[in-house]
Amino acid sequence: MKRTTSIGGWTICAAGIAAVLLSSGPVAAQNARNKGTPSYNPYPPGILPGDLNSELERVLREVDLVEGRALARWHALAASGVRGQPPTLQNTGTELIETLGELMNFDRNMSPNRNEACMSCHMPYSGFSGPIPSVNLTIIAYPGTAHFRVGKRVPQRHTYAPFFPVLQYNQTQGLFFGGNFFDSRATGFLLRNPDAEQAQGPPVDTQEMGFPDAACVAFRLTTAAYRPLFEQIWGAGSLNIKFPKSTEAICDTPGGASRFHGSATPIPLTAEDRIKANEVYGHWGQSIDSYEQSVQVSSFSSKFDAFLAGKYKMTADEMAGFKLFNGKGNCNSCHLDGRGTSMSGQDISVAAQVNPLFTCFGSANEGVPLNPRDAFYYQTTADSYGFIANPYGFGYRDLGLGTFLRSGFGSGPNPNSMWNKYAPTVDGQMQVSTARDVAMTPAQCPTTEAGSTPYFQKAFFHNGYIKSLKQLVHFYNTRDKYAYPVTSGHCPPGTIEKVTCWPMPEVKNNIDMTSGNLGLTDKEEDQIVAFLRTLTDGFTRPYPNMDTFTGKCMICDPAKDPNCSPSRQGNGSLIPTPPLPPCAAAICGVPPVPSSPIP
């Protein structure tokens, strides 16, 4: 078996050399490209974290390291011959396509400035979510290839995303299931694979990797070191596209630039070559999906998996948390754990499956408050390319699935007009992410929770308002008990935001009322957190590339910092929400309009 989770010395050596080779050229190229292009900085002082540039550079070095390891693994694989019909790469085909997906995911050249890979926002050590603690603490979304355009949501974990089905509306249940992204806009309608279509999003997202044309992916693949692997898998000649001379300059320019006049396909390809480029982009998504579904990413190797196999005995707190998760906490009504739910605390059900995914593939509006630290609200002016990310400023409201069904601002085209009428019933809903790996952190920062030990700051929910797992559970437990009609940063005197005060929801329509006043004690909240930690992969065998984190853990002193606790974590970074203008007509005025006005 060629796949190993331990890297031999020769591999590290080869990876190191490859990383050096990879990192030297592109950085120089990036600097050259950025020369003379002023940074876009519409942000008030204090919005961007102070270490942003050095942290972005740090992550790029880590990305290059993993890319080097993947190159080494590819070169170490035995030759694979095509056999049979349908043609199959015998023996090593699976690992080859998974490796191709990994190489693509960690390829920084897949951005105009060659400074951003998919994994720049999704490193393994954070459960394939945001890798920069200071970003998770503040602006929550990650800068794109054009600094500093920034997205609007937390990078959603890639782990187990490939298991979501094609988005469907279940007529019997009256519910949407499946898709990828928080708003489910990667439906899988064409590739029949939402995760593959998710992988097609960021490369052409103006605030992420930022190509102006999806064909730029095919163009850059023609010069990729792993081009032979792509052609081995997807066919010789699959990248033979006649790109015009203007292609390089076009693909070096971030999407949304005024010079493109709104065109989504500025590369002038023939109809035949456009079809080829689109096919390549489909293969891009399918290859990345292969990697993300592999045991490299979705590995079912947690303590909980060992527990299900009878090979791990939970601690008393973990077991108590598990029972609360199923019972009083009611968490598994959405984060399905393959078992039933019992308010008595006694699990009387039969295990329904051996690999529960801790999601129901559905969506819900949990009533999360608007997070004024989200960098998206401040990108109201044009950058040097003439692009404006958010002309509505604080008039933007994230309606999630509702906006997608309307093909609305900030989402994608809805491929099924029959779904449009359901938009008012799902306004504010975001995808129920798997609870697996929610607590994953680098080994040197062993927890997500602030306190007496070094920790790795993460951000939870779509807008990163929640900063610790304790807060997350406390929110579900007390959202309605401590509800106040204020916005973040304006909790009344005598209350503490996120402890005894929850600001009003960003979207009050369709709020899920399963939770909000669960009656959990403080200890019970902690026990659920203890259980959530058992869902971190890497217990039964090493989790690949967990060793790549080279940043610093967060450290605070509970004796000196009142916010150095899981309950108040991040409160030192709260800022007062400005007076909110009404929801922009381009969002809340698109028919079918929300069932009740959204302030």
């Binding site: 089905p165 019997t172 249940q173 519910l175 590995s299 308010m343 309605d480 009050k508 009322m513």
Partner: protein, 145 residues
């Protein structure tokens, strides 16, 4: 079994697990509809604030679709409950009872409201559990802007 064989065995096991169809077991099931439902606790006022009122009650598990709605018909005239509020909850198939909670936003302060509660499946099918008319009076405290 040497290390390589062990890794192969583990790999095959994992691939087997992954290649099974997890979707069928993963999606919440639609459970058989309960033959008759009844309210076993409430309804009552869980939260009464100038900007938010939450009405809560508990029923036998009604069965049916995994998403349900608590529905409150309310108004100032007990014979004419013209307003409707509904809030979604997730049903637990193996749960003996189900808690419904419904939000009523921005009611008038110092006002007496009459209401009845009920519930339905996501497709609108009624659960057959309707309460008698109840009443409550909102706080006279001015709303916080």
């Amino acid at each position: 079994m040497n290390t390589l064989q062990f890794k192969v065995a583990i790999g095959i096991t994992i691939i087997g697990l992954l290649s099974s169809n997890p979707m069928r077991a993963q999606v919440s099931p639609t459970t058989p509809k309960a033959p008759s439902g009844r309210i076993i606790q409430g309804p009552g006022i869980e939260t009464s604030k100038p900007f938010l009122t939450i009405i809560r009650w508990t029923t036998d598990n009604p069965g049916g679709s995994p998403e349900h709605y608590g529905v409150v018909h309310y108004g100032g005239d007990p014979k004419n409950l013209r307003e409707i509020a509904k809030s979604p909850i997730r049903l637990n198939p193996d749960h003996a009872s189900t808690v419904f909670r419904v939000r009523l936003d921005n009611l008038k302060p110092g006002t007496t409201y009459y209401y009845t509660v009920g519930s339905m499946e996501a497709n609108g099918a009624d659960d057959g559990t309707t309460s008698a008319v109840q009443k409550f009076t909102t706080s006279s405290e001015a709303r916080t802007p």
